[in-house]
Amino acid sequence: MSTAPPSLNHPRHLKYWLRNLRTFLPSDYTPTDLNRLTLGFFIVSALDLLGSLHTSTTPEERNQWIDWIYSNQLPDGGFRGSPATQFVTAPNSRWDPANLPATFFAIVALVTLGDDLSRVNRKEILEWLPILQRDDGSFGEWVLEAHEGDEGQICGGRDMRYIYFAAALRWMLRGKEGSGMEDIADWDTGKAVDFIIASQSYDYGIAEMPYHEAHAGMTYCALGALSLLGVLKETAINRDGLLSWLLSRQVAFKNIHGMTEEDYTEIQNGDNEEEKQALEEVELMDDGSGRPKCAGFNGRCNKMPDTCYSFWVGASLEMLKKFHLLNIQANRRFLLEKTQHIIGGFKKLPQPGGYPDILHSYLGLAALSLAREEGLCRLDAALCVSIQTKERLTSLKWWSG
């Protein structure tokens, strides 16, 4: 066993992301085929966080990717999720709709690549957002147009994620004082805020909708939306309770977390009492503080720790200006020692075997970046992009007004 302090293997991560950028993703990614713009964002933005986007790619390449993203913009506003829905020679807008998450990811990827958004149909997107909003304040993911007596409809679940994307697009595309966009009808932000407040659970975490189970990813989306709407400070959520719930997501790393399900069920069903006891054992710091050496985060009460929740919880705390209250070092060791993969990237779970995936690899970097890991650019918690990318947007002429 090595005693060297854990560190971010920057060259390996770079290699991992350049491979994602330049070669085909394996066919295991087929179930994410309709989210190609989202995957594109993760790839470009990971290289940005690593500080390598502008050194590892040429301006010409970046312009080509920018053009590709624009080729997925739709004339009535918004971006499709993937070229997979495009009919090329026989366009049919009804089944090739703009997608809310994809529109957000397309725009942040464009800014990250250095585009000035001058080709984005800002007005059309802002006009599309109110159409996606439901009466209860929540948003859908896309709209199915009316067709031959068949009514149009808002599609997708009632889900906190979509409120976040709507708030982020509103913030990004209206500009500082809504400059030039004043005439475009806004969506009902008050209703969306009420929906968020109602979604705070009895245990004070926030759920996808009222009375559903509190979930760290949904909590991040809710706080991100409030933050981007500029109302986080004054919104009537129970802040102390939420803080306690968020910090309770951090769990000391036990032996059981580092095992495959088969292995621990075998031990649990066996009769070796010593092995059973060892399942719950925690490796402690050797400074006598009794604090665990590694501690990642779960997304819901009594669930196992998972890489992405280091970001969802960490960024939520950052927005509440309470990031310093979590055990930053134990989280860092969890990510670097338990889920960082030898080939670069991060795995979802701290178990033996398995491969890194794009989502967890990005969110692992983002989580470390919140804690100011050396070698990574700093992150804006609400937008989940580097601070310099956010500043590139806010210094665009039309944005700052």
């Binding site: 085929d33 009919f87 090329v88 049919n92 993911e141 599609c155 009895y202 559903h212 979590l326």
Partner: protein, 297 residues
């Protein structure tokens, strides 16, 4: 292979155009690329037919998160006046195969809503929970089902009792319990409140260090009038401040610290926070110190 199939003779497939410099290109299997090309050809002309229904099934199998194909399937079912009971059987198979997928449950909601009959749904959910009793999408669907068909008193609490008997740490089940008891918008009768407090007490006895019932207790306290003495006693039982060696629950200690602070007993409250920071929950030491400082202020 659609290209060899006489039923598809008249269809000109629409292959995907990824452009010259795409991002996140996926190494599609030939099967997927071909099925998608034929699906696109039908969707482009809004063809609602048996073969359209069939190809949606094929694509869903390969990519259940394809968001437009599900709705296209709904339109096919409606146009063909298909048997929705059969559609449910199809969905059962898909749900068991693609456990993490959410579109399936959204689609199921549309189908069952149109059927107007929840028969068999609770049983199927039970089957899903045998695989993963914390599946978020399935619990969300169950809430919809209860509201849509007024199933509040149709075995929900009894089922939750068995689930929690199997695993008292199943927080999703605790959450559903709160939904069943408190979300109907009618006043909760005294005997139900009493039943719930008893249930918390029994559950805490089984596993004092399980956060779920303690959180549930806080929920009860916020929603109805529970004598604070009773809660305090329960906390003190699992977290006797005068005998720290016998403390069995950091959650009891946390709640006790809060009650003590409310009673303006700053000294006892500070003691509880200290014990949390040093001994019973050191992973959150900075937070407990922060809480201690905020009651002193």
């Amino acid at each position: 292979m659609y290209s060899q199939d006489p039923d598809w003779d008249d269809v000109v497939p629409l292959p995907q155009d990824d452009g010259d410099h795409p991002l996140a290109q996926i190494n599609y299997s030939e099967e997927y690329a071909e099925a998608m090309a034929y699906l696109r050809a039908l969707m482009a002309k809004d063809e609602l037919s048996e073969r359209a229904l069939k190809i949606t099934e094929h694509v869903i199998d390969l990519n259940p998160a394809h968001y437009t194909v599900w709705l296209y399937r709904v339109k096919c079912l409606a146009a063909l006046e298909a048997d929705l009971k059969k559609e449910l059987q199809f969905l059962n198979m898909k749900a068991l195969k693609h456990e993490k997928n959410y579109q399936i449950w959204h689609h199921r909601q549309l189908v069952v809503n149109r059927l107007g009959d929840p028969t068999g749904e609770q049983e199927f959910i039970k089957e899903m929970f045998e695989k993963d009793s914390k599946n978020y999408h399935v619990w969300s669907y169950r809430q919809w089902l209860v509201k849509r068909f007024d199933l509040w008193e149709k075995g929900e609490i009894e089922y939750l009792n068995t689930l929690l008997e199997d695993d008292v740490r199943n927080n999703s089940a605790w959450n559903h319990r709160f939904f069943i008891v408190f979300s109907r918008g009618t006043p909760v009768p005294e005997d139900v409140i009493e039943r719930e407090i008893n249930f918390v007490e029994e559950s805490v006895f089984l596993a004092p260090q399980n956060p779920s019932p303690w959180n549930y207790l806080r929920g009860l306290m916020n929603r109805c009038n529970i004598p604070s003495d009773r809660v305090k006693k329960l906390c003190q039982h699992y977290a006797p401040l005068d005998n720290p060696a016998r403390i069995k629950s950091s959650h009891a200690l946390d709640l006790l610290a809060e009650i003590m602070a409310m009673e303006e007993n700053g000294k006892e409250s500070a003691k509880a926070f200290d014990l949390l920071a040093t001994t019973f929950d050191p992973v959150r030491a900075p937070f407990w110190n922060y809480r201690k400082a905020s009651i002193a202020a």
